[in-house]
């Protein structure tokens, strides 16, 4: 990948990892610090956000790792030993590591994975990936015991035929091998796994013992830590899993997660000694402040998701490409990067950044900042009035304010509408918006709230034009219609070949630029701020954010004693 992230400020020699100790990690209550729907991967709606908790409790079949400078990020098998695509990318075969046990001592085997995957796909969690599974296969004979346990773990009103279909597509090959059969190639599937609930495998025995409600609170996995206390969305206290499959790990005796409201309080709490790590501090002023504080270290993340100003092309004013181009020409993200982010982060003309896959900093035909052109276009349009929405987060608010200023210089009249996430979602789904500042992409652009969600014509969070002949999103889905951009997006995942995918994504970026669907800007990743003496991959060495936040590898986090 491209240019590495800014070097960390840590300085000094990092010694050998030491065993023992305990840390408290502070999480933003508005995002990763909220786990109101619980930690059962099958029913949690927050799998994407609750990466830290899940990494600690479940570990995961696969993890995203990177070199110490954050480059060369790659998917590595963790509880899995390996994976292999077969049948031209239509069948994925995953082999598990031998000898892993859940923290309750029960075996972690292919059947357990099957049980989890079926639940995770069938329990109605909003975190469940939409997969094009080959459900036409006849399900194999499964033991009555297994089936009973599965049905007991599924919602009463589950669509039993669908479950049987999934049981046909996902099969246990042997005790350590499981396969998944697809109808179409999904080149992003494995890359997306670390943020998906399918990555998290919980103990079926424990589920049966604890019952659904309790399992949400104290789930049993095979990760490095075990839940000791869980106050939903407030505090999670974990202790070392003595049964952990990696020798000598985890280093820490105990790990706590504390949910805190807002950057200032998180930072303050860190300084007061009540926390050791702030996972993801995004207020630039505070990051700068922290840099000057000798008690703490600041480690910028490897940026993957640039800001994007999404434009709603299906109604005025952005149904006119000139209006969209005017926005492009009026937007000077370089100045914003300089002014708001102190020159940190990447400037990107597409939906990924230096830490992510398929990063292309410059896109052909991208309408660059050019105030005169913008003015001319606005004049041609006879003026332009725009509402610019944003999620109510400090940094995002600053960016919109800066954008407003820039756009107004071009004669565009801007009102800002900053709302909490829930309300932003409502605005999107009701189509009641004109332009929206969001972040696009992820480490793999297809993963998480990636390019498909922002630009696919049938996504409720996209403002790109509907496919020809479709009257609404639902209509398009029903008729199976696709816009040219949709086709490209499909292509980009319909192969497991990286080069092919990169080519397709470059084309996607070019189409977006040409059609002026939305200017991209700074990719800035929140920084990890840690107390001196805390080390670990994802904390003191950067790992690109898979979707929004970094997947810290908590089994390798250690503190100097």
């Amino acid at each position: 990948s491209g240019g590495g992230p800014a070097p960390s400020d840590s300085g000094g020699e990092v010694g050998e990892p030491q065993r023992g100790g305990e840390i408290t990690v502070l999480l933003d209550a508005g995002y990763s610090g909220g786990w109101a729907t619980g930690l059962d991967p099958a029913t949690s709606n927050g799998t994407g956000a609750n990466l830290p908790q899940n990494a600690a409790i479940f570990g995961g079949l696969f993890t995203l790792e990177a070199d110490d400078d954050g480059s060369n990020a790659r998917i590595e098998p963790n509880q899995a030993e390996s994976y292999e695509w077969q049948d031209d990318g239509l069948k994925l075969v995953v082999t598990l590591r031998e000898g892993i046990e859940f923290s309750d001592g029960t075996p972690f085997n292919a059947e357990a994975v099957l049980w989890n995957w079926i639940r995770e796909l069938s329990s109605g969690s909003t975190g469940a990936p939409v997969l094009d599974l080959n459900t036409s296969l006849e399900p194999p004979e499964l033991s009555q015991e297994f089936m009973d346990s599965l049905w007991a773990a599924l919602p009463a009103d589950v669509d039993r035929d669908a479950v049987m279909g999934r049981l046909g597509a996902i099969r246990v090959v042997d005790d350590l091998t499981i396969e998944m059969n697809f109808n179409s190639v999904n080149g992003a599937f494995v890359n997306g796994l670390p943020t998906a609930n399918l990555n998290l495998i919980a103990s079926p025995t424990a589920y049966a013992e604890l019952g659904a409600d309790q399992f949400k609170v104290t789930p049993i996995g095979a990760g490095p830590f075990v839940v000791e206390l869980n106050r939903q969305s407030e505090r999670l206290e974990l202790v070392r899993n003595e049964n952990y499959f990696k020798d000598g790990r985890p280093y820490l005796d105990a790990l706590n997660f504390q949910s805190v409201a807002g950057d200032q309080v998180m930072y303050q709490t860190l300084l007061s000694g009540q926390g050791d790590v702030v996972e993801g501090l995004s207020a630039v002023t505070l990051i700068n402040e922290a840099r000057n504080n000798p008690q703490v270290e600041v480690h910028p993340g490897a940026p993957t998701s640039p800001y994007v100003v999404q434009l709603y092309t299906r109604k005025e004013p952005f149904d006119d490409i000139r209006a969209r181009q005017a926005i492009y020409h009026a937007t000077d993200f370089a100045a914003i990067q300089e002014g708001l982010f102190g020159g940190e982060g990447d400037l990107s003309q597409s939906f990924t950044a230096s830490g992510g896959l398929f990063y292309t900093p410059e896109i052909e035909g991208y309408p660059e900042y050019d105030l005169d052109k913008a003015k001319a276009l606005v004049e041609e349009l006879g003026g332009l009035e725009v509402e610019l929405g944003t999620t109510d987060i400090v940094t995002a608010r600053s960016v919109t304010t800066a954008l407003q200023t820039q756009w107004e210089k071009a004669g565009i009249d801007v009102t800002i509408d900053s709302k909490p996430l829930g309300d932003v979602i409502t605005k999107f789904t009701s189509g009641d918006w004109e332009s929206m500042l969001q972040t696009a992409g992820a480490w793999d652009p297809a993963a998480g709230i990636g390019v498909q969600v922002r630009f696919g014509s049938t996504s409720p969070f996209s403002g790109t034009p509907l496919p020809e002949g479709a009257t609404s999103t639902a209509d398009a889905i029903a008729k199976g219609l696709r816009s040219p951009l949709d086709e490209l997006l499909v292509q980009a995942v319909a192969t497991v070949d990286e080069a092919e995918r990169k080519a397709a994504y470059t084309e996607v970026a070019e189409v977006i630029a040409k059609e002026a669907y939305g200017p991209f800007g700074v990719a800035f990743s929140p920084a990890q701020v840690v107390r001196k003496g805390v080390h670990g991959p994802g904390l003191t060495t950067p790992i690109p954010a898979l979707a929004v936040n970094t997947g810290v590898l908590y089994d390798r986090v250690w503190v100097e004693q």
Binding site: Q264, A283, T285, L286, A335, Q404, E408
Partner: protein
């Protein structure tokens, strides 16, 4: 036989000043109202005239390349904020918003609450009971929640903020209005007015209102500070006057999100707020004391 004087005075004077010696008293008397009044006038002048008289940049649309400048930067006496906006300019414009909100909310509260309370007391009987029960509901209802709800339903904007905040200033005013109307209506001069053939509206307008209003005004003065502070609390919950338009409340809110890095951004609006609240309170109390001293 000073019986008469005491009853009348009691109506007009909720508090009795303390005797203070020395001839400071007279000077003090003037200062005690003059100083806060002067500060209030100055505040208004600074906020409503300042921006047009002083060579200040716009409070919004600052240059991001010129952000987070320290106080004393040429052209920016108080520096700039993260977005590169001039802090002094924001402070003065923010004052406009805050003062407008405070005055408007109190005006609305005073008018609606006053009318409700006065009518309730004046009508008495069933109407009074029904109105008072309704107010009980509003008073028991956590005001912040009500405000959040209204602000959510209507969306953040200056007029909606005023509306939402009024919702919880009304019941308080209504209560005060009711009790002092009750007191005034029980005064013989109101009865005398009826005997003098004054129609009810004349009585309400020319006898009751002028005697109830001072009390309400004093109450409103004390309410000014509360409104300004609460407007800030609304920002805290993502409501209130929408950014980038400044108000003292949302400046404090935005500043506190990086308080330890940029404490000055909180300090300036807080000081302005403090000054305003202090002088409004002092003015309200001293004017009341003065009126009672007559």
């Amino acid at each position: 036989m000073a019986v008469a004087d005491t009853t009348t005075r009691a109506l007009l004077s909720p508090a009795v000043g303390i005797d203070r010696s020395i001839r400071w008293a007279r000077i003090r008397k003037r200062l005690v109202i003059g100083v806060p009044a002067a500060i209030v006038v100055l505040l208004f002048a600074a906020c409503f005239l300042g921006p047009y008289v002083l060579p200040l940049p716009s409070p919004t649309g600052g240059d991001v390349l010129n952000s987070s400048r320290p106080p004393g930067t040429p052209g920016h006496p108080l520096g700039t904020d993260v977005n590169g906006n001039d802090v002094l300019s924001r402070l003065l414009h923010g004052g406009q918003a805050s003062l407008i909100v405070a005055i408007a909310v109190n005006a609305v509260g005073l008018f609606i609450g006053g009318v409700i309370g006065a009518l309730s007391a004046y009508l008495g009987g069933k109407a009074d009971t029904i109105i008072m029960r309704g107010l009980d509901v509003l008073i028991a209802f956590p005001s912040l929640v009500l405000t959040i709800a209204i602000a959510q339903v209507l969306g953040p904007s200056l007029p909606n903020t005023i509306l939402a905040l009024s919702a919880f200033s009304i019941p308080g005013v209504a209560r005060v209005a009711r009790s002092s109307t009750l007191r005034v209506t029980s005064m013989p001069f109101v009865q005398a007015a009826a005997l003098g053939g004054s129609p009810w509206w004349r009585t309400l307008l020319f006898h009751i209102a002028p005697n109830v209003l001072p009390q309400l005004l004093n109450f409103a003065m004390l309410g000014m500070g509360i409104v300004i502070v609460t407007e800030g609390a609304l920002s805290f919950l993502g409501l209130g006057i929408p950014a980038p338009a400044p108000s003292w409340g949302n400046m404090i809110y935005e500043g506190q999100q990086s308080l330890s890095a940029t404490p000055l951004l909180v300090l300036w609006p807080s000081l302005a707020l403090l000054l305003a609240v202090l002088s409004f309170n002092l003015l309200g109390e001293n004017v009341r004391d003065e009126m009672s001293g007559r």
